[in-house]
Amino acid sequence: MRARYVPQRGINLDYLMWLFTRISGVGIVVLALIGLGAAMYMGARLQMDLPTVLRWTFFPNPNHVVNSNVPDVTLGWANAFWQIMQFLIIVFAFTHAANGLRMIVEDYVGHTFWQPFIRALFALLLIGMVIVGIYVVIGSAY
């Protein structure tokens, strides 16, 4: 049994990620509400079923709703505004997730020799997921 490690007060990684978790959490809710509103405006009554609405809500990508009955999926669905929304939700969600997983793992692992490697692993996972996400955002149909 060793003494509990207490970080310095002030601005450090844990404080910044604590703040980021709150901001990104509220940000994801706001982005999802904008996506939900837009999906309902654009065709939830007739052309889209519930899973399609949810797919647009959480990742507003034209390829994500390609099997819906929206007549022209590119009309109002694929433009720079929605690309920025996709990019924001990818960065917010994956960073929120990677940091959350890091916190859960470090609660059980503690400050050991392996901590920097665990952090590096989560950073690599985050970078990989963001690259895949940006590939999908840029490579989607117009």
């Binding site: 899973p51 859960i104 997921m129």
Partner: protein
């Protein structure tokens, strides 16, 4: 949890009760969402590159109405509990009512979740999901 202090199964019986159950559920639903989204991204990527692979199988399971019941639980609970935590962090004077905020959260969660399950099950058996 303190380093080296293994609580094991009895940790789940810790008498923090109501807010502790939310804390544990927040972590469990977080890991559920990460598992779901991570596998879904990999499956969709595989589906995009090659049609009719394991990715298609996994996404068909993911889009089925009975699987949505678990997904909606994770997403809705994690969202509402996260908002509750944010509100308690912004106004710490509410912390003495943390148990009541949990009751309020369940009061919001249960009607929305039951209505969603009702619609999912009705559509699932009715044919059009």
């Amino acid at each position: 949890m303190a380093y080296g202090k293994y609580t094991g199964f009895k940790g789940w019986l810790y008498k923090g009760s109501t807010p502790y159950i939310n804390f544990a559920l927040h972590r469990l639903t977080a890991m559920g969402i990460i598992l779901f989204v991570g596998v879904h991204v990999a499956a969709s990527f595989s589906m995009q590159q090659t049609l009719g692979t394991w990715g298609t199988t996994i996404n068909i399971i993911y889009e089925s109405w009975w699987f949505q019941i678990a997904v909606i639980f994770c997403v809705l609970f994690h969202t509402l509990n996260g908002l509750r935590v944010v509100i308690l962090d912004i106004w710490p004077q509410l912390l003495k009512y943390s148990r009541e905020t949990v009751y309020l959260q369940w009061a919001v969660f249960i009607p929305i979740y039951l209505l969603t399950i009702f619609i999912l099950v009705m559509n699932g058996f009715g044919g059009s999901a």
